[in-house]
Amino acid sequence: MNRQRSRSLRRAAVASAVLLSAHMIFPSPDAGYGLNYVVADMREPAAISGNTACPQRMRMDISTAGGVNRQWSTSLGTNPVSILTADQTPAGQLNEIESAIEQSFAPWTGVSGSALTPSALSPLAGTSVQDACAVDEVNTICFNQSDPAFSTGVLSFTRIETADVIGEQVSASSPPSSFVGQILDADILIRPGDPTTQFATPAALASNPTAYDLVSVLTHEVGHLFGMGHSGVWPAVMFPFVPPAGTFLGSRSTAQSPDAPLADDDRASVRTLYPGPGDSAYSGFISGRVLPANPLALSGQPAGTTGIFAAHVVAMDATTGAVVAGAVSGWSCSDPGPPVFDGSYNLQSLPVGPDQEYWLYAQPFDGPVETGDVLEQTILCRNTLTDPGWPAQFACVTPQPMSNFSVTKVSGP
């Protein structure tokens, strides 16, 4: 480690701390962690583009009770059996799997301080159609649908359909989108018919130690269904890897603690994406910027880049040592956009209180990392190269993650 570089990063840390204080008064517009975004098509009239090039969070419309429809395909693979249950009767199998599905939704609708509540969900319907996970307006879970997307090693995935304009439909009969980034259809597909991959309900897990916990897998996928991205915080439910076969993380959901399986980072994401009206317990935020000590380090970046893109920023409760929230930092946006790459981060929906203290950890991405690797399918910038005819005033270029420096550790807890 270069000593001069080490000192520089200490200064960068101090500078960031100063900016943090300022932003506690004037929050930066947006940079939630573990969420996916889409940029509206600014070539379209303002009435359907929403008139902003700021990335919009992908999320369900929960403005009406029961607005999130749900069904699952009761068609199950039998050769081999992919979903293991304790009850071997046909009716008992279905009941057990349906219960596992409900257990997977419960944590996400049981987070205090969030508007995402059980009332947002429609009753869970069943369908005997095997290939029910089509692109339509019905959010469906399939256990026996062969799909060409399943290459070797792909156990399950959630396919999200959204739109970059208002008024778009996924099918001729489906309702039009009412906002940019609205999730119009979300289907969860579990790998069918694989002799090397089996999933077990909670009742069957102990006797099937080589099977993956179905509820753990589904809870993670349901997080995607609601718009959550992956978390870089262990052991969040949205951490990209689920527990080893035969095990599950944390606690099972209960009537008293429906969100027990979630980590605080998961809860913060739900509260950020679906904020509860009038919530004051989780109204805290920490925002600021991660800056290079030497601005010349940004010389290879697109014009206008003034901060580090990207860094993983984590807030830890100074008393309990629990990670409260994390975020991938590096940008901010004020309407009508486009985003600016100023190194901003914004940790939202944090617990507040007179004795609430946080440690903040930041790790700029090191090494050769592509934006898409980390931000997954998130789209931050569009321009004439990605979209012919894109208006120049709304164009931007997403920087490559910084990789030409390393960081050092300064004294901490």
């Binding site: 996916n36 995607h224 870089g232 592509e370 399918q377």
Partner: protein, 203 residues
Amino acid sequence: MKRLLLTFAASAAALLLAAPGITPRAAATSLASMSLADLARAAGAIVRVRCVAASSRWDHGMIWTFTDFDVLERFKGAPADRIRVRVPGGRAGHLLTMIDEAPRFQTGQESILFLESSPAGDYSITAWAEGTFRILPYAGNPSGAITQDSSGLPVFDPATRRFHVEGIHNLPLDEFRRRLAAALAQQTPGRQAPAPQAQAGPR
């Protein structure tokens, strides 16, 4: 009054070497955890490629992104000089299909891909993000370094209060070649892995 304490944690070297306190991963929600040897065994072709074009369209009832690559180097199999790879998701008109861990490529970008034939006659990527390794210039490795898509995000472990990365991350290309050759040699009885062509990398 809320008080903020700020620290930068974990040197880059420690990041590359340490991953304490994390339960070994056995599976991803989307992806089975596969070692380099697992990937090499499952893939029908392993190639170093350069992206030349990518476009999205509807196929099999959903939106796919089809990416054309020039093959620069073959490690396994004998794919044509130009190949097409399908990855689920993409944009068609105003609709977007988003699937986590499904890789995306930009024109000119170089990668090493683990591929398997798809029923449609093109290729799909074995284990998506796990079977995708980006080659990028890096200050520490002028000849290029390689990072697995699934290891892009620094992971924070509250037990150690450190960030770390998992999988293959920032590995010199020559060292990756050596490891891959060793993995392939395991599958071929009697075949010897070639001698390393470079010094061992940081991992």
